[in-house]
Symmetry: C2
Subunit: 229 residues, 2 copies
């Protein structure tokens, strides 16, 4: 069927991987703006920044979309994201190597669940917020991986036509914030800091990239507005 | 390096997906017989046959190998394996379709974790007990999926050389039992019945295939020996 009418379009379903950070929330708003009936998939995997998880749930409730929280763990992962004995990185050079926050195969696992959910609810699209800054460091955010995963997953499922969509993959954090602003993303409700304390630490890589990106647009990260300097 | 000496061989590491059924236990024994220092990966995903899970742990302890149990769930899965409101199938025709016990993407999820673990512990091999009878029904047991998954996973990881090994993929259940007998697999400690009661139900597909396979070798399934007829 080459032409889709508006009714069919509005009935299209998607699964959106939602972490609660700027990228995944922007992707969720993007999918909703494109008329996808979206189901969010959230992971509670022992991440030190549990505020991100709360942010994800809050956003899903705000947009009144169905969401699943999968509780799991990577007990073997030697990552500062899940192991509190390892400090989070604060000075990552984007051009160099894989950061300490890398959890081996994390997105592979998350995408696998997303495809499982997609097939089960009849969704033909899975959205992920992977993007340029990520894939400079994380191999499971790179376009060549994403394409290859889509192919493999479809071979391993009943439903062969599920598409993996990463609309931000070639964007910078600055671009993403611009898109988010246009889509009405409530950035105050998102969370990025790896530390997961009451307020953003403003020192970890995730805080730095976020603050810089807002600054490059002449803005102050709304999460910092109520913090005294 | 084309030739490996014996010392290097004995130092080789593997992750083995262990469900506690005949196939995965035979694969574990196979990997151990080939000198792999094996780490077992077991999933507690709300399967109705929880005795299988206990069997897996028992086998791992018996062979004194390190094992991880990942507790997770597929809350959306419309499968008789995780949803007690759906009866387990008792008359599957091997040549026809995907059974009701199918959990969308289950092996994709399990393999993703296995690759995550493999990279984290420096294992270059992941073993899975997928085989002929499985892949007639389950798309995530088919060789074309397994090859494709290996390629995708390696693209998404730091370590590019992890191999996915399915040594039983072209074997029947009968062949597997023969191999298991040669390797000394304690079949009394394995569990296959989907129902997960005290004794095998002898009616579900998993029981039927197992009993038939033992019978075709002129044997009685050791799990049935203590049951009065």
């Amino acid at each position: 069927m080459r032409k889709r009418n508006k009714i069919k379009e509005s009935g299209k379903k998607a699964v959106v991987l939602l972490s609660g950070g700027i990228d995944s929330v922007t992707v969720l708003y993007y999918a909703l703006s494109k008329g996808y009936e979206s189901t969010a998939l959230i992971f509670d995997y022992g991440q030190r920044h549990r505020k991100e998880l709360l942010a994800a749930k809050k956003i899903a409730r705000k947009r009144k979309i169905k969401h699943y929280v999968v509780k799991t763990s990577f007990p073997w992962a030697n990552s500062s994201l899940t192991n509190k004995d390892i400090s989070v990185p604060c000075s990552r050079n984007l051009k160099r190597g894989i950061p300490l926050t890398y959890v081996a195969g994390r997105n592979i696992v998350f995408l696998s669940y997303a495809f499982s959910l997609a097939e089960s609810i009849g969704a033909k699209s899975v959205f992920i917020g992977a993007h340029t800054q990520d894939y400079s460091g994380y191999p499971d955010c790179r376009p060549e991986f994403l394409g290859s995963f889509e192919k493999a997953a479809c071979r391993g499922m009943k439903e062969k036509g599920i598409k993996l969509k990463a609309p931000l993959v070639r964007k910078s954090k600055k671009d993403i914030i611009k898109i988010g602003l246009e889509l009405g993303v409530p950035f105050t409700d998102t969370w990025s800091c790896y530390e997961g304390r009451m307020s953003p630490c403003r020192k970890c890589d995730s805080c730095r990239f976020r603050i810089q990106a807002f600054r490059s647009l002449g803005l102050i990260d709304p999460l910092l507005k109520n913090i005294s300097n």
